[in-house]
Symmetry: none
Subunit: 196 residues, 4 copies
Amino acid sequence: MRAVRRRRSSRDPQGTDARTRILDAAEALFAERGYDATSTARIARQAGVPKGLVFHYFPQKIDVLVALVDERTAVEELPEDAVEALPGDPAGTLSRLARRFPLRASPAMRRILFREAGTHRSVGERLGRLNGEVFRRARRALELALPGARGDQARLEVAAATFAAVLIYQENLAQLSGQHVDPDAVAELIAHALGA
Amino acid sequence: MRAVRRRRSSRDPQGTDARTRILDAAEALFAERGYDATSTARIARQAGVPKGLVFHYFPQKIDVLVALVDERTAVEELPEDAVEALPGDPAGTLSRLARRFPLRASPAMRRILFREAGTHRSVGERLGRLNGEVFRRARRALELALPGARGDQARLEVAAATFAAVLIYQENLAQLSGQHVDPDAVAELIAHALGA
Amino acid sequence: MRAVRRRRSSRDPQGTDARTRILDAAEALFAERGYDATSTARIARQAGVPKGLVFHYFPQKIDVLVALVDERTAVEELPEDAVEALPGDPAGTLSRLARRFPLRASPAMRRILFREAGTHRSVGERLGRLNGEVFRRARRALELALPGARGDQARLEVAAATFAAVLIYQENLAQLSGQHVDPDAVAELIAHALGA
Amino acid sequence: MRAVRRRRSSRDPQGTDARTRILDAAEALFAERGYDATSTARIARQAGVPKGLVFHYFPQKIDVLVALVDERTAVEELPEDAVEALPGDPAGTLSRLARRFPLRASPAMRRILFREAGTHRSVGERLGRLNGEVFRRARRALELALPGARGDQARLEVAAATFAAVLIYQENLAQLSGQHVDPDAVAELIAHALGA
DNA sequence: TATGAATGAGGATTCATTCAT
DNA sequence: GATGAATGAATCCTCATTCAT
């Protein structure tokens, strides 16, 4: 999570620093065609910077991917209970969680995470951590929303895992299978499964 | 869907014909490192055939992927009701569906489908069709298992879509997020959501 | 020491096989400008082959150097006493050794050996082995030529080492220092040092 | 031959000025890996100075090499007869010459001189001049040590040339051939060749 | 059908050098 | 003087693909 402030140099007429433009271009291209199919030359061209500059900031191509994952998929450091759980309203609670989703990642970044997770360890690890985070929040939200602890713990975990999967992968589920899975509808489904 | 029978040549000590060995090698490699990162030379080496032979069978590299998807992700032509739905037992019905899953695809092929779906139209289409098939079967199974039509149609569709997603992507969900989502448990969850 | 016979293909109008032409070109260029300053593209151009072919035969640039050293600096497998030592004529014996020098290496190869020995282990090792071979032959020749064992053993070794150095490095001594050191004259000098 | 005194700047915690540190780093690196294989960036890093500063002091990379050769291989301006020749003791005289060797060059600089002489005219010239200087001194020393002029002039020159070669290249002889050639022993050998 | 040499476009990466600050 | 971002030519190497045998 870089916070270095970069000054606008005279060589930067676009007003965004070169490093950021490189990451922007890479994000769009990796999402569209995949990491391997995207050449560094193309990233540079789309970013409007000379080829060499990509390597000035990112010594290896893989470092571009790593930087994207590091800097653009940060899990917000929300207080655990930032999403106010409404006792008796698990569906609404999950829906709110979905909306205040802690994953600060563009649809493009999600596609990248998803696609490259299987082949690049660091990406896979990050995706695993994100999934775990969402899972834990969902479980906690459900526990708070269902104070009577109706429904055993095991089922609650299955519910949380299912919801996390749908939430994280919705982007890809939609694109790959051509079918939208609406998180709100799933939230409602799950609430029914757990509730009265 | 090829069914051509190939004779065993004298150069084929493994007892499998060259074309099959090429596809086997490609399946393993594409799953492990992705299509773009796998060279035709490597496929040939792993298959134990000369480089030129790959192009004898598959004029272009992409044809290897297409053949894999065509020949190794076939949706079985099951009769619609091959999975006997037990009225009153939606959970069991879904579980049986999961077990008699119509997708004849190795874990490796599922990873390939999944990974390349976003960048190769033909793969994406195939995945979409598979997902649709599973979705339709799940919906039909639920309709039969819940004859009273309790729960409206919309919720039933959400349930079928969720179940299809978990079923198709379980391979990847497990691998990517490090968390198993047991189809049987999800079946039970969904049954609760729809049932009494 | 390759002995593979290469057929003359129709694509080889020069009548020398491509691999040999690549090595010829590399030998000349490495000797003239050094290994690092010689690009693979230039080798290919001078050899009259496409760039890619260099890497077909030599997966890495360094392999070209290694092949040169392996195949073009072979120590002849002469019987130990192939150079007939004339008792009483150490000078003549050394001169004959110099002329029937066991190092089958062009002046170009000697310059390459010399220059790259310090930075490429395999080259350095080969040079060391060559030097050792020449040293041992010179010592043996002197022992045979001076049967009375006049002059102690230590001095004889110094003589052999000095002669080996002059013999192996004459190419470079001449070029680098602009001064020829005639092996025959050194042979005569050494004979005087050891003889009556 | 620079003699400019450089002040110690506040950015120079090592207490050596930047220019000197650059040359020190270059000397070590050129000796270890060769001129071509050493990037200016690496020199800067090893010297602990920013990349730009290298080009401030040395407008071109080659200027670093030239400066090293100019400033660090100086032939001492000894009076011709600084090495007292002892008539009748040529071995001792040569040994003393070797010890009071006029070449002020570190082992590293000798390796550089040696390696780059063949490809960089200025280095080659300097090496030639050094070799000539040592040769002339050795010849003069021998003439003085052997007043009777026994041994003809031609043999004396061969002796001087051989001794100069051993002296100048001992560093490399040892390193490359793994065999030490002791200058004192060679001096003694040569004395025998010329003396009674 | 089988084989591997041949081809050249393209890709990642390096690097000397410039220059605004 | 000091700094490091910027530049683009050049380098090593990969690879799909062709083709003569």
